[in-house]
């Protein structure tokens, strides 16, 4: 049969084959460069840093958890207990108490955003929301900065488990959080096509993409192409094994807690081992305007206690804690005053976050609040300061500057100052 096609000038068969080769280059890069990478892999793995954020969506009542005020009218019914660190915490966190030599509490967080959306944005980025610019979130920044340590990574460098995290802002869609549930199962992963044919389709797709971008001149250069490439890599990568949390033994699953957050923390550990630089695990339901103490004692704190302590313990036992930063926080704290519904409302002026791992000193309580918890009585710290501290702990230079889309330079962590007690 005679082909109905004529090849126009500039489009030879060789050209077509180049297209195909181009799109498969990603997948074979690891093979062609294999030797060199393998030699360096051990070295790299030894030095590579990661971070796990435990995000408490809704705003956790930190006055009932990390900075108790027993006896004060604002104190609530919980009693403090001793820990392995130089501080006391809530009696409903007994297992975490045994890990506090690895973790430090910043008790003098003082921020200004007490609305969920604004607080979530601010705590994730170090910037207050601005309608004209989208700032990159923690995950995007850390993944962006740490990627050079893992050229072999084929799975997304920023994974969020059980939540949405916050976006990549001007760093671009390639640094978006990859959202999965705690089961680690990923939809639509099956390629129901042989690899060669998929590559050929990718070549045809690439042609449509570049034509459209050239005609409209409006799309961030190659953004969609980068996402397509990452998607292609991920579909064909053996590193996806890291998501298969079901392969963990029952005892381990039990230790983390057989609920979404527990399994999410376990999945986070697997992803750290798999080379993912930033993982967020979400535990929602902290917006406790009603009945705060009973909810904490019955469900929230036991769940957190198990999963958080298991994660820190497990990372330490595997020798990973020294390279893995842990960040525990929500969008704000909750009012010291207990309202008429036995709840606590939004409160950003004086609250706590918890950090540890990587280069961050554990066992300390930094800063203090007044006897009723309503005011910070030492140097106040902001989202920027906490972010700068975590970045320093991860070995990311605080001189790093990003260029926003409108070509304004932006300092990493919005120029926050490092909390000196926590990192050397």
């Amino acid at each position: 049969m005679i082909s109905p096609w004529k090849t126009p000038s500039g489009m030879s068969r060789r050209h077509f084959m180049n297209h195909l080769a181009g799109s498969s280059a990603a997948a074979s890069a690891a093979l062609t460069m294999g030797g060199a990478i393998a030699a360096n892999a051990e070295e790299m793995r030894r030095n590579r840093k990661s971070a796990i954020m435990l995000w408490m969506g809704g705003g956790p009542p930190t006055i009932d958890m990390w900075d108790l005020k027993p006896g004060a009218p604002t104190g609530g019914p919980f009693q403090p207990i001793s820990t392995t660190g130089d501080m006391q915490i809530c009696e409903h966190l007994p297992m975490v108490a045994k890990q506090m030599h690895n973790l430090s509490i910043v008790r003098s967080m003082s921020t200004r955003e007490a609305d969920h959306n604004r607080g979530r944005y601010y705590m994730h980025t170090g910037f207050v929301p601005n309608p004209n610019i989208e700032h990159p979130s923690y995950g995007a920044v850390v993944a962006h900065e740490l990627m050079s340590q893992r050229p072999e990574l084929e799975i997304p460098p920023f994974v969020t488990i059980g939540g949405a995290s916050a976006g990549p802002g001007f760093l671009g869609m390639a640094w978006s959080p990859f959202a999965v549930t705690s089961s680690g199962r990923i939809r639509n992963l099956d390629m129901k096509l042989d690899g060669m044919r998929l590559r050929q389709r990718m070549a045809a797709l690439q042609e449509i993409e570049s034509g459209f971008a050239n005609r409209t001149r409006d799309l961030p250069a190659g953004e969609h192409g980068k996402v397509l490439k990452k998607t292609f890599d991920l579909m064909t990568s053996s590193q996806m094994e890291a998501f298969r949390v079901e392969k963990e033994d029952e005892k381990t699953k039990e230790r983390y807690g057989t609920n979404g957050f527990g399994q999410g923390c376990l999945l986070a550990r697997r992803l750290v081992e798999g080379g993912v630089p930033f993982i967020e695990v979400d535990l929602g339901g902290w917006d406790l305007h009603n009945n705060v103490h009973q909810t904490l004692a019955d469900t929230k704190l036991p769940q957190l206690d198990k999963a958080m302590s298991a994660l820190v313990e497990d990372l330490e036992q595997r020798g990973l804690l020294q390279d893995t930063a842990i960040i525990w926080m929500g969008e704000f704290g909750r009012t010291p005053r207990i309202n008429q519904n036995a709840g606590r409302d939004h409160w950003a002026r004086s609250w706590s976050c918890v950090v540890g791992g990587a280069g961050i000193q554990g066992g300390l309580a930094v800063g203090e609040t007044s006897s009723d918890g309503t005011a910070v009585e030492s140097e106040p710290f902001s989202s920027e300061d906490l972010m700068a501290t975590v970045c320093k702990g991860l070995g990311i230079s605080l001189d790093t500057t990003f260029m926003s889309k409108n070509r304004r330079p932006m300092k990493i962590a919005n120029g926050g100052k490092v909390i000196s007690e926590l990192v050397a």
Binding site: W5, K6, A164, A179, R187, A203, M235
Partner: protein
Amino acid sequence: MAPKSIFLSRLTRSLGGLVILMVAFASVARAQSVVPPQIAMINDAIEQGWADYEITPAKEADDAVWCRRVFLDIIGRIPSLEEQQEFAADRGGDRRAKLVDRLLHDDRYTEEYANHWATVWSNLLIGRGGGMDRRDLTDRNGMMKYLRDSFAENKSYDRMVYELVTAEGATKPGAPGFNGAVNFLVGKVNEEKAVLAASSVSRIFLGQQVQCTQCHNHPFNDWKQQKFWEFNSFFRQTRALRRFVDGTRDVEYAELVSEDYAGEAGDPNDALVFYEMRNGLTRVAYPVFTDGTEISKSGFVDDVNRRQELGRLMMDSQSLDRMAINRYWSMFLGYGFTKPIDDMGPHNNPTHPELLDDLSNAFRGSSYNLKDLITWITLSRPYSLAPVLGSNNQIDDPSIGETPKFSRFYLRQMSAEQLYQSLVSASGGSATGTYEQQEKKRREWLRQFVVTFGTDEGDEATTFDGSIPQALMLFNGELTQNATSTKPGSFLDRLSQSGKSTRDRLNLLYKAGLSRQPTKREVALAGELYRARGGKEIEMLQDVWWAILNSNEFIMQH
């Protein structure tokens, strides 16, 4: 003078004033001489902005691209090949106006129009996750039914808002006293003193963001904490009641009712609420509208139904008109006159203040006819421009924080719902099954992209944002598999039996997905694919169709 204009001017002479306007209106095209006043108003104001900034707009989008654009915006999906051909076959200068008129008023599109806008508004009113959870009092079907009926009969915008704000009755279709409009507020009144009801109504319909003022005075606008609790007081007679399945504790549906309210001091004749200021002092609030209008302090429903009073006051408020205009403009043009669109007021200057005012007045003047408003916007010049950022309008780039000048059509990604309908339509016309079955399937598919934040306010995000989960879905998902199926009766099967030649069929494929012809290079690539598939044409078409459906050009509204 062009023949068409002669025809129209002859008509003008032979008919009375009002009729002329209507006729001219229904047949307007780009012929400047007969542009209805509202469209001229838009064009003049936007063109003035170009002159002020010394920029030259992009050229007009070609007809096929514009056709795809209005189909997506008005009925929520791309046009079929047949529909594109019907449009192309009309050689009259007024064919764009005729197409808009068809999409808005022809019976064959009523259902799709109503369904598309009901979906858009459901997402606004109750979120993508609203009514998706079994424990949720909101009934998504009830919300959709109310909105579909409203858009099908082209209910005026003000009436729809009044009904949503004042509704009483049952949530679930078929329940006694069913009133689907109650689903907007039924999940927002029982918790936290109806804070969510107050903040949603003021944000969605009046463009005023007040959620932070429940705790403190707003830092940027003139909303004070007092004002929040006064506004909130309008919702305090309202309760959502659970109705149980007989003899069980299973909630069958919910009912939104107005009950006598005793106030927080226990005196229904003086039904006040308390709020606490940041300095610890307690203050008192009664229902007062945003413009300072007070209503009776009684909490007895027989004396005063507070939500009905609120509804009436909102009808007189200019904020109602301005918010509607800002929202509809942004839905069609990609950006509103303010950013964000639902935070309006003296603290947030609009980019085109006069146009915003004039359009608001015109909308009120048309008795809040949404189809008129859609006609004005879609037939305006800014809506007709090509999506090209050129050297003459380089500064018109809102994505980097510049104010929009509307000198080009801004690219934006389709919504998940638009993509779904487009893929269903692209896989061979209408979906199968009853409305309920189709809707269930669609909802299951949409659910995969919704992520909630775990707050009481039901905040949510979508992963349908151009990132990897979306790409995976388009690469491998069931919808793509159906759309690229070669089974007998499928789109590709039927396509492969039409047309004169392989080249002809390839052209049709590009037309169907992208409303354009393939380029030379694309044709050549298809030729290579044809050979790679061993001369099996339908497999080549399948590969190309897959590539088209996965391209930015397909996913973008452009």
